[in-house]
Amino acid sequence: MTGQLDGLIARADVCVVAMAECFRGDGEILANPIGTIPMIGGRLARATFEPDLAMTDGEARLIANDEAFEWPRGKVVEHFNPYRQMFGWVWNGRRHVVMGGTQIDQYGNQNFAAIGDYARPKVQLLGYRGAPGNTINDTTSYWVPNHTPAVLCATVDTVCGVGYDRAAALGEQAARFHEIRFVVTNLAVLDFETPDHRLRLRSVHPGVTADEVQAATGFELVVPDDVPTSRLPTPDELDLIATVIDPTGQRLKEVPG
């Protein structure tokens, strides 16, 4: 299999495991990872250590299948879940979403609406989508397939997803459901487990140094003295990913090598 020759573990598989770890301890909630590797990671979490997670087919159903895509043997439908029902879950506090971000700052503020001055943007992107509501109502994690200083940047141009500094300014009542758990990138796993909730390097993927992660980041990271290596997939996990969850190898297209 690509990337696993010579006993090497594909970076994509390390990222999948890191995404799965985002959901550890979540129990019976809607895990809603958006993106290729997030969807595979969510499936892996459910197929192994978080069996009670509920997950979508990317459209209007919650399905029990372990496969992340295509469902050649059909979908096992658990629930009708059109968009309007998704907002029901968000507002009811039953969801952990994984979003992307064109810009993410050191407190976890996120932007995918527009680059530059919002009133007359240099680059118009998607719009606010559901980011304000997701972040103020439920646990959020982020997936960054291309960790660069432009993405992990000092200041975001527009705050779509609410970060820890903004949440703190709102006060305890308004921010009581806010949690940004992890930022998983193609280089590392980061969290906010610092006194002032600044982004901290939690682990580096095999073959990546802490200095390389800092160099790819547009602000100063909190870097502990000893940075562990991200958890490697077990042989059983690798088998599950390659034969059941993502047999066509879509993860390797998102993160090559």
Binding site: E59, A60, R61, P82, Y83, R84, F87, V90, W91, A113, A114, Y118, A119, R120, P121, K122, V123, Q124, L125, L126, G127, Y128, R129, G130, A131, P132, G133, T135, I136, N137, T158, V159, C160, G161, V162, R166, A167, A169, L170, Q173, A174, A175, F177, H178
Partner: protein, 283 residues
């Protein structure tokens, strides 16, 4: 009994420049595109457009018909960023009224329920309160005193939605995966139009799908348009998927004024019947 059947042209004739219109569907899915095409052929402009935006928004922006855009996102799904919408935003051609997706649902619901706003936690801490001056803060009148965001009712002069089936009275049926918010658009509008792939007798609706597929009641509909392939090039599952090749050609038309002029001449300056006939030749 009222006869609500009409054409796209007759529906668009009910509009005038400066109106606020809502367009159902979601992204590049089940959009009332035959009505959008009729609107593009009309001289109506200066519109405020409320939409879960897809190529409806892009086309109306490219044609210079939009004054103000009320939206949570604009996307072609398989092409994440809508190029004509981007161009309009980046050139400052349209006024911008952004919402979070959940807020957008509440705004439509508020309008359909005839209340001025609905409260939510959504928006607290984000820049949407900076960028949308229609949003306000409201304090809970109860002992908790919680500070919440008030999302204004998104009322509209006219709304257009596209269904898989309908009867002639406007009992509309979706057969695809998601109802989206089409019923709320009709509830929020003064003039309400439903196009559908097929108009069928009322007694046949129950053979097409279960009762819960009957999303739209005739109580919400003034005009019914039969529009086979009317959502093209957006998807209208299970009747047909998105025409990805056509959508790519549409997206490429944003590359230059010449490309847009070419696309417009080839596909937008002809009647709906001629458009559909031309499509059949191309496929």
């Amino acid at each position: 009994m009222k006869d609500k059947r009409c054409t796209e042209e007759e529906a668009v004739a009910e509009l005038s420049s400066g109106m606020t219109i809502g367009i159902g569907g979601w992204g590049s899915r089940r959009k009332p595109m035959s009505v959008v095409r009729a609107l593009l052929r009309s001289d109506v402009d200066d519109l405020t457009v409320i939409s879960w935006g897809g190529p409806d928004v892009g086309l109306l922006c490219a044609a210079g018909k939009v004054k103000r855009l009320v939206y949570a996102f604009v996307s072609l799904d398989s092409i994440p960023l809508e190029p004509h919408f981007r161009a309009a935003r980046q050139s400052g051609a349209v006024e911008d009224e952004p919402y979070d997706e959940g807020m957008f649902l509440l705004g439509l619901q508020a309008a359909a329920w005839r209340v001025p706003f609905l409260p939510t936690r959504v928006g607290l801490g984000s820049d949407i309160l900076r960028d949308n001056d229609h949003l306000r803060m409201v304090a809970s009148p109860f002992d908790d005193g919680e500070e919440l965001v008030a999302v204004p009712a998104l009322t509209m002069d006219a709304a257009f939605v596209h269904m898989n089936r309908t009867d002639a009275r406007g009992n509309g049926q979706y057969l695809g995966p998601d109802p989206y918010m089409d019923d709320l658009f009709l509830g929020a509008a003064t003039k309400r139009f439903l196009s559908a792939e097929k108009i069928i007798p009322t007694e046949d609706l129950s053979t097409e799908g279960p009762p819960q597929s009957l999303l739209i009641s005739r109580l919400l509909v003034d005009g019914v348009i039969e529009a086979p392939n009317g959502a093209h090039f957006t998807s209208c599952d299970p009747d047909y998927p998105r025409d990805e090749a056509f959508q790519k050609a549409y997206a490429a038309s944003a590359k230059s004024p010449e490309a847009w002029a070419e696309f417009r001449e080839a596909w937008l300056q002809l009647s709906e019947a001629d458009y559909q006939a031309k499509l059949r030749v191309h496929q």
